[in-house]
Every structure is written in C-alpha cells, then in structure tokens.
Amino acid sequence: MRKVVFAAAFSVLACSPAKGSQAPAPKVSATGDSTKPKVTKDTTTTAGRGAFSEPFADPFPSTYKPFPSKTTVIRNVTILTAAGPRITNGAILLKDGKIESVGASVNAPADAVVIDGKGKFVTPGIIDVHSHLGVYPAPGVEANSDGNEMVRPVTAYVWAEHSVWPQDPQFPRNLAGGVTTLQVLPGSGNLIGGRSAVLKVVPARTVQGMKFPGAKYGLKMACGENPKRVYGNKGGPMTRMGNVAGYRTAWIEAEQYRRKWDKWNADKKGDPPARDLNLETLAEVLRGDILVHNHCYRADEMAQMIDISHEFGYKIRAFHHGVEAYKIADLLAKEGIGAAIWADWGGFKMEALDGIRANLALTQQAGAKTIVHSDDPSGSQRLNQEAAKGIAAGKELGIDISEDQAIKWLTINPAWALDLDSKIGSLEAGKDADVVLWSGDPFSVYTRAEKVWVDGALLFDRDDAAEQWRTDFDLGYVPAVGGAQ
C-alpha cells in the first residue's frame, strides 16, 4: 500500500540514486568553441540570441494567457486577506482577471456572477514553493522520473521546466486543494540541482503555457545527506566537508564567468567569451537575477551555507525543509531568509531527526519569513491543514498564532520567496485574482476548497464535477477528481 507512495516520496525527498552513470560533462559551450567550423565576422548581428550569455535571458518564454473569466462577486463571506485583519461578512470583486476591490461591501456590476459565501471563507490562492509536480509525475514510473539529474554534483545547467509533463494528473488535484502557484524544483541529489520553474496551476499543452509570466528563476541547492550519499561512491563529495568544497569551487568559477560576460555585455568588444549553461545560471545568481532555494535540514549546515553566500556575495532566498530552522530562527530573521518548512515531518532520516511541530511557530516568533511547503503531491493539497497544525503547536508553547498570520505562511510569504508578492499572495486591489472559496474555516479538518479562480477564471468547482479539469492521463484511467460519487 504505502510502500509505493513511499518509494515515490523518497525518490524526491531523499533522492535515492537513480541508475545514473558517470557520463562525461556535456558540451554546453556555444560560441567560442574551437570545434565550431564557421565563425561569422560579426556575431552580434547574425548569430541567434543563444550565442550570448545575457542577464534575464528568456529562451523558453511563457505563453500563458488567463482563461476566460466572468466578473465575479463573492459576498457575505469571511475574508482572510493576508494583508491585514480578517473581514467578516465581507465581499470581494474579481474583474478582468484582477482583484478589483475587497471590503465590507463592493459595488457589484450588473453582469457579475454573485456568489453567496455565507459560512464560507475566501483566501488568496495557495502557493507551494516546493513542488516536484510534473518532474516526478504520477504514476511514479521510471520512464517519467525526471527530477534529479544525478550524473555529477553540480548541474546548474538543467532547467526543471524541461522535465515538466503538463499532463501530470497531480496538477488538477493540487488545484482542487486551493493551490494556484507552484515552484517546481529539481530534486536534491545534487549540490546544485538546476533551475526551478514557477507555474500557474492551469491546464496547458506545454509547460510554457503554465509558466508564470515574468517570474524569476530559482536555483535549487542541497545540503547534507543526499548529495554525499549519491556521490560518495561516484567520485565525491563523500562528506559534508566535500559538499562545502563543491559549492565554493562552483561559485569561484561562476564569479570569473560573470565578470568576463558582464564586461563583454557592456562593451561588446571582440569575440564573445564561451557560453556555458552551468556557469551562466550561477552567474545569474551572483547578479541577483535568480533566487536561491536551498534544501537544508540541519541548523549548523544552514549557518555554513549563509557564510558561503556572504563569501561570494549572493543571497539565499529561502531554506527549504529546514527541520532545524527553529534552532537558528534568530539568524534567519537577521539575514532575511525565508524558512520554507513542513508542519510535522521529521525522523525519516538522521538530518531530519530533530523535526518538531513547533518549527513554524518558533520561526514566526523569531521574526523569520515563515512558509509552509510540501515537497509532496499529497501534502500540497492540504497546506491549509499543515498550517493549522502549526497554529496548534504554537498554542502548546504559549505562542499565539492568529489565523490572519497563519494564512500568510501559505500565501504572501511564499509569494515573497518567489519575488512575486507584488502580483499574488494577498487579496488586495490590483493583484491577480487567484482566489479560493473554502467551504468553511480553512484551518478546520472538515473544510475543503469549493471554488478556485486563477486570474479571475473559475478553474475548479467542486460542485460541478463535469467541468473539472482532467489531464490527458486521467482520461480512461482515473475517476474524476473530487467528484462526489
């Protein structure tokens, strides 16, 4: 029974080594490669953009367009805005894909769909900053296990979006859990695993059709047990000290690369330097254009990762998993680093041994940016319940976490971690209308997401099974999501 699920979880979580080989490093250089037969005189005019290593390059641009939406008013409802105190008996107006207004009442246009929210709650769409949907799709077969490029310890050259299968049946299930934005990360088998993809949880034929327009890339890094287990017998790193040497070596090369290209991009003199996909991603981190999401369990290791970031002048945006974040919550607060953590996972391996349920409450109390994440396709559907556990654990320690605070763990704080907090994560006029209507208090075990809007379009309606999104894989294989039978 769970054995199957466990295997899937561990391939993500613990990143058990795949049948990877010690393949030679791929040739990733483009221009400046002496093996290239023809070099035109003026590269800047005839070569494609792929010839250059430029900041914010966007070779796989988003093609996402919001789905058709109707002007919608939800009234007579409790609103957790994630931007201030709750509004009881309030109303919210969604228009043209944006939140038009929120308050005690709104002016409902004549053509608006009006929903009575009596006894129900409205929140911003939930944001999961740690997902492997699409890269570890269901069913969890080897053929689709595309989340961990475990061929060498530093693979900053891989991009998660190139593994995302848009027909992963986990996507609509996530949406039914109220999740509207995901950061899909490479696995944690490598020291530096590659770029993340930030996706809207919407049906699309291509991953480009899901990509959050304008979202920055993230870089997945991983501490501790996983990389050293994966590479211990494959040339290293074999130890935690080997891990640290590996990160530093990579950043040293990246810094040289950044200087070379920044200079060339500034004056365009002579032949461009050789482009290198690996170093390009790292250089973008050093320029501040890519956000670092660092898988790290132990407090002492997090502190060392912070020192490395100081040494090379980049910022760690958030530690992920951080089961010992509570031990250095003051340091995380001081450094302005997010703590993207579970409510109650722990104990499943040595570096997770000290997981406690009060981790959310204690990091919050210390002033860190607290974020509930999942790293799990099942848990991702119940992030509201995870936050509820965090509230309860705080209460046991005498730490009062209000629901108005806890909703931020699921919305505006993860939005901040993705640098999207100006667009999503709270219910404020002008923001994307990513909105969830809950059957009751979202922190109750009995509550379910009833309706979910993405950019104002109603994409999940529990009461309308016939209209629910089903992936290609679902057809013929799987009973309808959430449909009452």
Binding site: K3, P377, S378, S444, V445
Partner: protein, 429 residues
C-alpha cells in the same frame, strides 16, 4: 504447538499486567462528553478505572471515595486510538540510519514464521509522539517479501518489558500481493499461485506432520517454522492481512479467502471502493486512509479520498490508517486522528470515523474485549480531548494507558522547550 506457546505467553502477560498495576489507583474521569463507541455518547458521563481496567462507564456511576478524580467538564472522552498498521518500534530513523527490524530475509519471499515483535524496541522515542496524538495501541507489523510475517498489537504504555505491553501476538499474518519484485515473482498470477501453494502445503503439513518429520512428504514451498505459523491462518483462527491496492488484486484475495475458507483483511485497498459490494458480502474488512488521491502507480489509479466513506456506506468494516506520504507509520502515527477528520470531509460519518480508529481495528484483529471501546472489562486506554479529536485545534490533554496517566514528554517536546528562547540553555529541560 506454537499456538499453545502463544496462549502461554498471553496468560503471562495478563498476570504481569495485574501484578504491575496492583498499586494503581482508582481513577474517575467525570463530566465529559463520553464516546464509548460500543454504545451511544454520554453527556456528562463518567469513566471509572481500577487496577488498569475500566470498571464502569455511564451517567450515574458511584465514585469510590479513594478514587482520583479527573474533571473532564467541557472535554471529550474517547477510547485510546488504535493504528492498525505501523512500523513503530522497529527502528526510530526510517532511512539511512540505524537498524531496522521490519523485514525478514525469509525463503523465496516467505517468512510466515517471522515474529516481528521479537525486535520491538519498547523504548523507541517514536512512542511518545504517537501517544500525544491519542494513540494508545498500534498494530506493529512487518513488511516486505510475499509473506512478511506475524504482527503484534502493543499498548503504548511506556513499559520496559515487552510482555508488559503486548496486547496480542501474533495478531495477524501479513502478506503483500501488490509488488511482484518484492515477492520474488515475475507476475501476479505467479504470486497468487505461490500463496495458494503455501496454503495448500500448510493443510497437507497439518495432516502429515509425522511423515514430514520422517522426510516422507513431497517438498513444501515453506520451512517447518513457516508452515507451523500458517496453521492458525488456515484454520481460520488468525486473520491474513493482505496488502493489495488494485481491484484485480482484491479480486484474487477474495477468491483465495473463499477457496480456503480463511479470514482475510485487505490493507491499502486503493481501489477497494470499486468492489465495495463484494467486500461487504464476503465480510472482508479494509484498512485504508483518506488523505491520498494520487494515481501514484498503475496499481493505484483509482485511489481516492472518498474510498473509506464509500466502503463504509456499502457496509464494509473499515479501519483508517495513514496512506498519505511522509512518515505516517512512524513519526506521524500521531496524525491518525486527522486521517479520520479527512475521511469525514470525504463522506464518512463522524461516528464511523471514530469507530474506524478505535473499535473497528480492535474487532478486525480480535481484541475488542481489551481495547477500542470504553466498556467495563476493557483496558483503561482512555483519552481526554480538549474538543473534537479530529480537529487541529484540539489536543489530547490526558492520555491513560492501562489505567495510568502518561505524560512523559516526547523528545520533540524537549527540543521545542529548549529552543523556545535563543540561544538555548544546554542543560535544559
């Protein structure tokens, strides 16, 4: 022969339990909203315990003068919860560290003779967190192979000696029919054939033991120890818990049960809802969860959160177990009550959900005289909750196991307390 020995062990358990609880006080939990599960709820009811056992439950119970009174006014009082499928006690760290006592090597996938509880660590640090979630008994089960071995039911009373916490051993024989590789076969048909061979050979062995001892029987698929362990299963005295998810697997399980007249329990049961009527007709219980709807493999395409509710509606006996991801068999056994809450959200009645983590698992494994309900004669496994036990905002305020309140903090509690102020003091708590 083995059976006799087990009876002996159980008798010994009973004796020791009585001896160790001689000094135990009489405890009266009064004023709460009492859910006996074996009967209707009692507003302002009393649960009276003496010498580790429940002696009375009801509205107007005479409370002895020497009784220690626990005021449960405004609280909810339930039986201690039972998790019908855990790995508890067989290694604290699930992965990449320490010894694990779960899997026998067996012979060609068969380890029926494996008594997993012989490796049970009564001092596992995972016991306290489970108890904090109101869980007072668990089925501690082996895993792996085709026939994994025998599971035990243990109370989480913190006793040092194994005999002081065993409720029933063996409680059930565990086998899995969903993973061909693990069963060391090439296809389901081969796996089912091997299981049938084992049952056939057990029957033959029972008839021809003396021939077997003289080496005058044909070769059997299992060793003497394994065949001995299978006798109570073949005789219908012990359940065979079959881990199966796919409808086809469940179909074959039902067919085996019918052909051999044995009592089976389906564990996992992702697609059991598609066969609810057949399971109900065959009176085969299902252990499943309510927090998974991922078609995680081609065997679990029909996995849905409504599973437990649909099964119950069809009249199938259900015990709720963790079936999400993460670590619900070890670190998060404490979350069993949320599994019940989610089952309610997906169609099960509240009463059925409570039953599914108390009396139903006790009935399924034949220990309802000891645990799973609040009734005279049962062990004093009682939880006083601050409110609805399925809600996140509620907590298990007082947990009694075998009549004694246990409030030893978990290791996690100690860590939380230590780091509540930074930097921590390294000599506390």
């Amino acid at each position: 022969m083995k059976r006799t020995m087990n009876r002996g062990t159980l008798a010994l358990v009973a004796t020791i339990a009585m001896v160790s609880s001689l000094g135990a006080q009489t405890v009266a939990i009064t004023g709460g909203k009492v859910y006996p599960v074996s009967g209707p709820p009692i507003e302002g009811g009393t649960v009276l315990m003496r010498d580790g056992k429940i002696v009375a439950v009801g509205k107007d119970i005479a409370i002895p003068g020497d009784a220690q009174r626990v005021d449960a006014t405004g609280k909810w009082v339930t039986p201690g919860l039972i998790d019908a499928n855990t790995n508890l006690g067989f290694g604290d760290v699930g992965f990449s560290a320490g010894q694990r006592e779960l899997r026998a090597k067996g012979h060609d996938g068969i380890a029926a003779g494996f008594q997993v509880w012989l490796g049970f660590n009564t001092q596992s640090v995972m016991i306290a967190p489970a108890r904090e979630g109101g869980v007072t008994s668990v089925v501690a089960a082996p895993s792996g192979g085709l026939v994994s071995g025998q599971a035990a039911i243990v109370d989480l009373n913190g006793a040092l000696a194994l005999t002081d916490l065993l409720v029933k051993a063996p409680a059930t024989m565990v086998a899995q029919i969903e993973d061909n590789d693990d069963a060391k076969v090439g296809a389901s048909g081969e796996l089912i054939g091997r299981l049938r061979d084992l049952l056939e050979d057990t029957k033959t062995y029972m008839r021809r033991k003396s021939d077997f001892e003289r080496a005058q029987t044909r070769p059997f698929v299992a060793t003497r120890r394994d065949l001995e362990a299978m006798i109570p299963v073949v005789e219908g005295r012990e359940t065979l818990t079959l881990i199966a998810d796919q409808a086809a697997e469940i179909r074959e399980a039902l067919s085996i049960a019918k052909d051999f007249g044995i009592k089976i329990v389906i564990a996992g049961g992702a697609e059991a809802w598609t066969m609810a009527d057949k399971l109900a007709a065959a009176k085969v219980p299902v252990l499943t969860g309510a927090e998974n709807n991922i078609p995680g493999s081609f065997s679990t395409l029909g996995m849905r959160q409504e599973n437990a509710g649909l099964l119950r509606k069809a009249g199938v006996q259900v015990a709720l177990i963790g079936n999400g991801a993460g670590d619900e068999e070890l670190f998060n056994i404490r979350n069993l009550r949320y599994e019940a809450g989610n089952a309610v959200a997906y169609g099960m009645t509240w009463d059925d959900a409570l039953r599914s983590i108390t009396l139903s698992p006790a009935e399924i494994y034949g220990v309802s005289d000891k645990v799973g309900s609040l009734k005279a004669g049962s062990e004093g496994n009682v939880v006083v909750w601050s409110g609805d036990p399925f809600e996140f905002s509620s907590r298990a305020e007082q947990v009694f196991v075998r009549g004694k309140k246990i409030d030893a903090p978990s290791r996690q509690d100690m860590l939380a307390k230590r780091y509540q102020t930074l930097p921590p003091k390294y000599n506390t708590p």
